[in-house]
């Protein structure tokens, strides 16, 4: 599928491969074991330009094609899913600005994200509103030229390390479901806003996940993205665009696990020959490789369709079907392939000295976040059936 990449994209991927080999791969196991966010990596990624990929050139970014981002995320995820997520979340957190903010707001915030000076985060999920974000209860009350935020967001990637977070809250207290929700941009350090890291995760342990607490947090009305009531639509536009990134993350992890297992089974001897000579394992290998390639096809296709259809912040009409398919399929493939990779390594597969057990733990989360894979099925089915509900 890499024939879909042009020369420039291929060269960028090569650079990222070298960067990952030098600055990520040697430390990934340690960051995972210590459950530590690698602050040192932020600078490395910023310097290389990986944190400003999504920002248009007029705001100091690189204006890279979504396929470039997908290829970069995939390459990083081959060695460390958490490192890849750093790039994906930078994209996720600023997409609401790209699709929903005014020119003046874009000029104010985007250059800081483009340079990597600022990290971003996307705060949609609440303790009582995960798959159903329309069930959110966080409030935003207008007072003069300010809004007062009260509520809690949970499981927010980069939540405690981000300098700016987009959050979604109800401006209309009487509203229900998707209506009456508005998007806001909140800067770190705003009084009344605290972020508490959530520790003890199964995987993605080098990625920051935080609970965001807003207690009478006052922000200028100028920090509102779009109009009151447009929040839900901004959130959905964002997720439609970011799902190929998560698919790419899953794809990279699957490829990384496959590559590792492929090398291992040719070295490991049992019954006097390499275990790769057993047809039972060869069949597993063939299935893993084929699924990975199919996932890549779907992921790249989704990225290209999102780009074509999503120009100027438009709501996707058909591309969201493909971005949901890619997210669902690639993350399921990652789960299967990493599990099989552990199997191919036998007992060694479950040991921390080998990378595949970490990849398997990381993969589980891909099936859950950015909309669980059950929710992706709803999105896909609705794309055929319209608003009809099951």
């Amino acid at each position: 599928m890499d024939f879909l990449l042009n020369d420039e994209q291929r060269q960028i991927v090569e650079m990222v491969r070298e960067l990952a080999k030098e600055k990520v791969a040697p430390y990934a196991a340690q960051w995972d074991a210590e459950e530590r966010f690698p602050h040192e990596l932020v600078e490395v990624f910023a310097e290389a330009g990986l944190l400003g990929l999504a920002v248009p050139e007029e705001y100091g970014g690189l204006g890279a094609h979504p396929l470039t981002r997908v290829a970069v995320i995939e390459e990083l995820a081959k060695v460390d899913a958490s490192a890849a997520l750093l790039v994906a979340v930078q994209d996720l957190g600023m997409t609401p600005i790209l699709v929903g903010a005014s020119e003046e707001q874009k000029a104010r915030w985007l250059p800081k994200f483009a340079s990597g000076e600022w990290l971003s985060a996307f705060g949609l999920t609440e303790p009582g509103a995960g798959s159903d974000p329309g069930g959110m209860v966080m409030r935003a009350r207008r007072e003069g030229d300010e809004y007062v935020l009260n509520g809690t967001k949970i499981f927010i990637s980069n939540g405690s390390v981000a300098h700016g977070v987009t959050v979604f809250a109800r401006t209309d207290p009487d509203s229900r479901g998707p209506k009456g929700i508005t998007a806001f941009f909140v800067e770190k350090g705003t009084p009344g806003f605290t972020a508490v890291p959530m520790k003890g995760k199964l995987g993605l342990r080098a990625s920051d996940t935080a609970e965001l607490v807003f207690e009478n947090c006052r922000i200028p009305a100028a920090n509102r993205l779009g109009e009151e009531g447009e929040g839900f639509s901004i959130a959905m536009k964002t997720l439609d665009r970011s799902r190929p990134n998560i698919a790419a993350q899953a794809l990279g992890v699957a490829q990384g696990a496959f590559d590792y297992a492929l090398g291992y089974i040719q070295e490991r001897q049992q019954f006097g020959r390499p275990v790769a000579s057993f047809q039972g394992l060869q069949f597993m290998l063939a299935e893993m490789a084929t699924e990975i390639e199919a996932a890549r096809g779907l992921t790249y296709q989704a990225a290209i369709r999102v780009h074509e259809e999503g120009k100027d912040g438009a709501r996707l009409v058909t591309a969201n079907r493909y971005s949901a398919m890619a997210k669902m399929y690639a993350t399921d493939v990652a789960m299967r392939v990493t599990t099989d990779a552990v199997q191919l390594l036998g007992g060694y597969g479950i040991m921390r000295d080998y990378p595949v057990e970490r990849m398997m733990r990381d993969a589980k989360i891909f099936q859950i976040y950015e909309g669980t894979n059950q929710i992706q099925k709803i999105v896909i089915a609705r794309s055929f059936l319209g608003g009809a509900k099951g």
Binding site: E8, Q11, M15, E22, G49
Partner: protein, 266 residues
């Protein structure tokens, strides 16, 4: 100051031994799944050139004698900070013998605006003849300072450190010389940034053929070589493991010596 850097695109030397395959008939390494990269010492040479440019201001022109796909190597060099790139195109150029490569590169360098410094990696990283820098100096009629980890501008010329068997030697040379660069901590090649890669793809690459260089086709072709590769193979290494028996350390040692003598290791 104008610096010319000669680079060669080679098979990634860091691929796993298992992935390394050769075609014994053609007497060539097979690319298979391996990527093509700039030779490691050539990267050091590029880094040295770019550091000189950053410090003193210079124009850096990068040249390669290679196939069309060697443009990727030139793009990487542009992304690292080179200003101009020249591809001297030739099928199978990568396996030309050093004297032919040197002749072609010299002809290309003569076409550039006058150069103050020509840098090469000390050897390519695959065939590793290490002869192009010397032969190139000869072709250009310039002095050669080999095995240089670092150099700087000094007065009207350069001050260079050169590795020798006895230690490092410091020499000075006027402008107009060829230098072969060896690796050192301070010439570790930089990774280009995404933006540099994008900009590099917008720069033109100048393409020249033998005719543009005033060379007849034959003198740049494989037939110009006088070196014949008779055979190419990957040496097979057999390994065996045997535990030396013995009741105590002394007996084990004695048995070990006996075995080593038997096998004529000592």
């Amino acid at each position: 100051m104008h610096i010319a850097v000669c680079i060669k695109q080679i098979l990634d030397p860091e691929i796993s031994p298992r992935a390394f395959k050769i075609n014994r008939e053609a007497k060539l390494a097979e690319q298979a799944g391996a990527s093509l990269v700039i030779g490691p010492f050539d990267l050091n040479a590029l880094e040295v050139a770019i550091q000189l440019k950053e410090k003193h201001g210079a124009k850096v022109t990068v040249l390669t004698f290679g196939e069309e796909k060697a443009q990727d190597a030139l793009r990487r060099a542009l992304a690292m900070g080179a200003d101009e790139a020249v591809l001297v195109a030739g099928d199978g150029a990568a396996s030309r013998e050093p004297s032919v490569t040197a002749k072609v590169l010299a002809a290309a360098i003569r076409q550039l605006e006058p150069v103050d410094l020509v840098l090469c990696g000390r050897q390519s990283g695959e065939w590793d003849y290490g002869q192009v820098p010397g032969l190139l100096a000869e072709e250009l009629g310039l002095p050669l300072v080999p095995f240089v980890p670092r150099l700087d501008v000094s007065g009207d010329g350069f001050r260079l450190e050169r590795e020798s068997d006895a230690g490092n030697v410091v020499v000075e040379a006027p402008k107009g010389l060829v230098v072969s660069i060896t690796n050192a901590q301070d010439n570790n090649p930089r990774l280009p940034k995404v933006r540099d890669i994008m900009m590099a793809n917008r720069k033109p690459i100048k393409k020249l053929g033998a005719a543009d260089l005033g060379l007849d086709e034959a003198s740049a072709s494989a037939s110009a070589g006088r070196l014949e590769v008779l055979d190419l193979f990957i040496p097979e290494v057999d390994s065996e493991c045997e535990f030396v028996e013995g009741d105590d350390g002394a007996e084990k040692a004695a048995n070990l010596v006996k075995k080593l003598l038997e096998r004529k290791v000592i």
